[in-house]
Amino acid sequence: MSAPNKSYDPVEVEALKPEEIERMRDEALAAFAAADSLDALQAAKVAHAGGTSPLSLANREIGALPPQAKAEAGKRVGQARAAVGRGLAARQTELEAERDARVLVEEAVDVTLPYDRTPAGARHPLTTIMERVADVFVSMGYEVAEGPEAEVEWFNFDALNFVPDHPARQMQDTFFVEGPEGTSGDESGVVLRTHTSPVQARALLDREPPVYIVCPGRVYRTDELDATHTPVFHQIELLAVDEGLTMADLKGTLDHMVKALFGPDMKTRLRPNYFPFTEPSAEMDMVCYVCRGESVGNPDRPCRTCGSEGWIELGGCGMVNPRVLTACGVDPEKYSGFAFGFGIERMLMFRHNVEDMRDMVEGDVRFTRPFGMEI
């Protein structure tokens, strides 16, 4: 390279003339704007911002300028190159955005296509509704107790104050289990439990009061299967034994249960009834879940669920008969308790408008699947 020529006039270098620099810049920007694809922009970039682009070539000329001209020319070229760089970047961003948007459009699918590759499973609604009821009580501090389905008569009847030959004991149509060889008929003393109440007695023998338990389970009676009966069905039993429990406590507990299961505006009603294992005993009704009582005296809106009575019979309850406490080794002078039991099938029927008991029994997947995992 030659020594700086102090008399060198920058204006004389054609490529470094201000209007030339401006032209190069503008051509570059125009080329970027004209590029309609990232590929075209790449070509324009090579042409106008690459190493052999006019501005780059002009930039090389600066070195040949005299020192006093270098700064000015350098500044002019630098600004132009910066403008070109910004223009390129802006266009790059624009085109990338366009491309991205186009790709998203191209990748669009029909999201309404059905997808049943693996069919859904489901738990039986009787199972989930039992768990749901149990959970209401578990959240109150109750524990879930269980007992055997093949049960000795003593637990199923005697301990619950069903004395031999009591009419109530005949009311129960019981499956008897065959005894050992050489015995006949019902001598085994073993039955398929007719209710979940024997778990009460087992729990009282197993635990020290206070006892607060809920017992869901399968029970058996010799009814033929039809639209409203099944020989194998499910119950939930509730038992609380503590010092000073009253019927008002029973009522409050039932009120809480129906509110938790059926909504905050639910109400219960107790009607006197008779059960050997409770005294006093009551039948528990709740406001009809379907018509909320509005069908009563309203012939235009009859309710099939409650027969326009406004109430649904839910189950039997009462204060644990002190004789039951005695048989289970609990001092009735010190402790009192209440118990409640009801049928799960019936609750499922009115809560979910099931019309035929057989649907719950036959295991048809079309019935069970819609209930899913929870209820």
């Binding site: 997808y115 003593w154 008002a248 005294e279 295991g363």
Partner: protein, 843 residues
């Protein structure tokens, strides 16, 4: 118990405007289950009058004989002319009084009456039968013929009491006294706060020595026996309309005057009665237990062989009645029948009335033993007022005298076993404590008195319960009486706080989680009956000695085809699969968790323990030893597509691997390690059966075969009519429940080193054994191992397979070098080679 409102009003002065619905509500409030209120004659409209048949013209040209009658209905038709009526019934004659419905009337069921042409004549109304008037069967078999004393033109709606309301009450076993008008009236009076006219409070002559001789040799079975005699009954006397109507409304059929009267008094007072034809009695009446094998023919004609525990009524010749259940045919009241020669009506003229009280249990057992439930036994089983026998006998005598023209003999027999009235002592605030309400002593005493109790004392009340309430035995019984009369609806609602609970047990949580996991894996839960027939074990190809063949059997199964309880869930679950398949669902995955029942090696019977104390631990253990073993199994069955074909590509049929995977799903939820081995068991395809083993590690390592999974045996599929290739898994769920607490893995943040290895082994080497050897051989650096390919082909040679594994190595404290990872892989392959003959492929 059916209670006509009109009859009830005889004992309680109910408000005139009170409807059956009103009374129902009040009675429900005090604890009587009034199921329905029947509206009799609600849509009935007159004119309906008494008429007298003037002429009968027999019309014979029709298929059945028809009568064209003229009937005098007085002024009822507005003309005073006889009414012309066509009638198809034949049980009446000229001069008879009948019930005539005139045009413009409406009969029950909305049946409008108008003059109409029939059988060639114009009929201006109808001569009515009991059925047409909604009265029920009166035994006449035709139209109603009224007693002659009723005047022509009288309104028959009123005469026949056709408009009424009847409460139908389901009486619970403890409230036997409500199987009577007297009992229901007492509850009604209390519910309304009105006085009761007790129909049992009538003058009764004292016993004397002149009555019919009665010898009670079992005073426990029969603690009271009243006998009265009425003579000179007119056999032609009929039950008056009011008597028949009350019986009909109460649901009983009128039979004959004497029988109707005993039934009427039973309905009124709740005391079952029996009337013997005195001319057919021989000697003294006795009450004793039957001799084993003694025979009797009861009223309805059944010959019965008696048990030594049956209580019987006898005369000199032997049993004449099953006490408290049903009388014998031999001493029955004779129906009035005209003598075919003289025309004189003959029938029973002298009767002996029995009003007795029998032991509840004894009657219940006899009724059950002979499968004979009568109105009498129903009442005795639930408890009858022993103090009402003489009143009931007196009432019967009075009605026989009044209605049948009889004469009461002066003799009054009463055999009474002395009993003390029952008293219960309770603290005056006992009902308050039971209810959680401060009723106060005054209320408690008043309510108990309303029930019929005598009450003495201040803080401690001595309560003598009324004779008609044998159910009141315990303090809580008295509390219930107070609380129900004060109204259950008035009980406050308080929520007791249970002590802090422990939540669900591990077993309960496991059962839930397994259900959730299987449903999540696409299985639908089915809850099947546990009843099976033993033939299914043959269909399932179980060995003769298979323990599942030992079953618990029912004495009284619903179906003789299925008398046993299941030892395996599969039969029921496979039936559900078949049912779904036949209904058009062919891609199925079902599961069930449920109890199976296995008899103990040594069976014993359960002793009936006393209930007046806690049983001893030995006694309780004895009870449980009488029970079969019961535990919970889980099972799945699959058929059809496990994955559907669709726009995404091909589907996949359910196969053995899905069944085995279901077992792993279950095991994952329980936290128990389940080892899968090649197995062979009855229902499963011998080449496609996995044995599921629970291995318990530790100082005493144990193994338990907990179940099987795989494809079912083709013969099982054929025998049970299942879709081809049906797969199944069954596992003893309770064997998988564990309290073990998972120990958290240590997570290394150093990089992973991956190595693949393909091993060639004999085709019959189980992959699980190769994998176990690899794991052991790879040592501590192995983080995970996965079989990613199984390959068979010619290049491997006959009877060989290639298993390709991806091994991931990682150290806790450093980055592994390639050499370290390779060395570990080689060690793994070497041990696999040693154990299973595996050769590294391509080595």
């Amino acid at each position: 118990m059916r209670v006509p409102l009109s009859w009830l009003r005889e004992y309680v002065d109910l408000p005139a405007a009170a409807t059956g619905r009103d009374v129902q509500e009040k009675l429900v409030g005090v604890g009587l289950e009034v199921e329905t209120v029947e509206q009799l004659g609600a849509d009935l409209k007159g004119p309906l009058v008494v008429g007298q048949v003037l002429t009968i013209e027999e019309l014979t040209e029709f298929k059945k004989p028809i009568r064209f009658c003229t009937v005098d209905v007085g002024q009822a038709n507005g003309t005073d002319e006889p009414q012309e009526i066509v009638c198809g019934a034949r049980n009446f004659a000229v001069g008879d009084k009948v019930v005539v419905v005139l045009p413009g009337a409406v009969l029950p069921g909305g049946f409008a009456i108008s003059a109409r042409k029939t059988y060639g004549k114009k009929s201006h109304g109808m001569i009515c039968s009991g059925d047409e008037l909604g009265m029920g069967d009166d035994g006449s078999g035709g139209i109603i013929v009224l007693p002659p004393e009723h005047e022509v033109g009288t309104d028959a709606i009123e005469l026949l009491e056709l408009v009424d309301e009847v409460l139908d009450i389901a009486v619970t076993p403890d409230r036997g006294y409500c199987l009577s008008m007297r009992g229901v009236a007492r509850e009604t009076a209390t519910a309304y706060g009105l006085p009761l006219r007790d129909p049992a409070l009538i003058d009764v002559p004292g016993p004397n020595a002149h009555g019919y001789q009665v010898e009670v040799s079992d005073p426990v079975g029969c603690d009271r026996f009243t006998a009265r005699t009425v003579t000179g009954l007119n056999p032609e006397a009929h039950s008056p309309i009011w008597l028949k109507r009350r019986l009909q409304k109460a649901g009983m059929r009128p039979i004959s005057l004497a029988v109707d009267i005993t039934n009427y008094v039973m309905l009124e007072l709740g005391q079952p009665l029996h009337a013997y034809d005195r001319s057919r009695l021989e000697g003294a009446i006795g009450v004793r237990r039957a001799e084993q094998g003694e025979k009797i023919t009861t009223l309805e004609g059944a010959k019965r062989v008696l048990d030594a525990a049956d209580l019987v009524i006898t005369d000199e010749r032997g049993p004449i009645g099953l006490a408290g259940v049903m009388g014998g045919a031999h001493t029955e009241i004779a129906d009035a029948e005209p003598d075919p020669e003289t025309g004189e009506v003959k029938g029973t003229t002298d009767v002996v009335i029995e009003a007795a009280h029998f032991d509840q249990l004894s009657i219940a057992r006899t009724a059950r033993r002979h499968k004979l439930s009568s109105e009498a036994s129903k009442r005795f089983e639930r408890g009858v007022d022993p103090e009402a026998t003489s009143a009931a006998a007196q009432r019967t005598v009075d009605l026989l005298v009044l209605l049948a023209g009889g004469t009461a003999e002066a003799g009054v027999t009463e055999v009474v076993a002395p009993t003390a009235p029952r008293t219960i002592t309770i603290p005056a605030d006992h009902p308050d404590k039971v209810a959680g309400v401060a009723y106060g002593r005054e209320t408690v005493v008043r309510r108990l008195q309303q029930v019929g109790c005598d009450v003495y004392g201040q803080d401690a009340l001595t309560v003598t319960v009324p004779s008609w309430r044998p159910d009141l035995t315990d303090p809580n019984d008295l509390a219930e009486e107070v609380i129900r009369l004060e109204g259950y609806e008035n009980l406050p609602s308080t929520l007791p706080s249970a002590p802090e609970g422990m939540g669900l047990t591990q077993r309960q949580r496991t059962h839930r989680r397994v259900g959730i996991a299987l449903a999540g894996a696409g299985y639908v839960e089915a809850l099947n009956y546990p009843f099976i027939g033993e033939h299914v074990f043959d269909e399932l190809l179980l060995d003769a000695e298979d323990s599942n063949r030992r079953v618990v059997k029912l004495v009284n199964p619903l179906s003789d085809e299925e008398p046993a309880l299941r030892t395996t869930i599969l039969p029921g679950l496979l039936a559900a699969l078949r049912r779904n398949d036949s209904r058009g669902s062919h891609d199925l995955a079902l599961f069930e968790t449920g109890t199976v029942f296995h008899p103990r090696e040594e069976q014993r019977t359960a002793v009936r323990l006393p209930v007046d104390r806690r049983p001893t631990e030995e006694e309780l253990a004895g009870l449980d030893e009488a029970l079969p073993y019961q535990w919970r199994n889980v099972a799945v069955v699959l058929t059809g597509a496990r994955e559907q074909a669709g726009w995404w590509g091909k589907g996949r049929p359910a196969d053995w691997a899905d069944a085995v995977e279901a077992a792993r799903v279950v095991a994952r939820e329980t936290g128990v390690e389940l080892t899968v081995r090649k197995g062979q068991y009855g229902p499963w395809h011998p080449g496609r059966c996995a044995e599921l083993v629970v291995v318990t590690e530790g100082p005493e390592r144990s193994e338990k075969v907990a179940g099987y999974a795989g494809e079912l045996h083709p013969r099982v599929i054929k025998a049970l009519g299942l879709p081809a290739r049906t797969c199944a898994m069954e596992l003893e769920l309770d064997a998988l429940v564990t309290d073990a607490v998972l120990q958290a893995p240590r997570i290394s943040t150093f990089p992973v080193a991956t190595q693949d290895v393909a091993l060639v082994v004999d085709a019959d080497v189980p992959a699980v054994e190769v994998e176990a050897a690899l794991r052991e051989g790879a040592g501590e650096l192995l983080e995970s191992l996965r079989l990613f390919d199984v390959f068979t082909g010619e290049q491997l040679g006959e009877g060989k397979k290639s298993l390709a594994y991806a091994l991931r190595f990682r150290a806790a404290d450093r980055t592994l070098t390639v050499d370290e990872a390779s060395a570990a892989r080689d060690a793994a392959a070497a041990l696999a080679g040693e154990r299973t003959g595996a050769v590294v492929r391509g080595a």
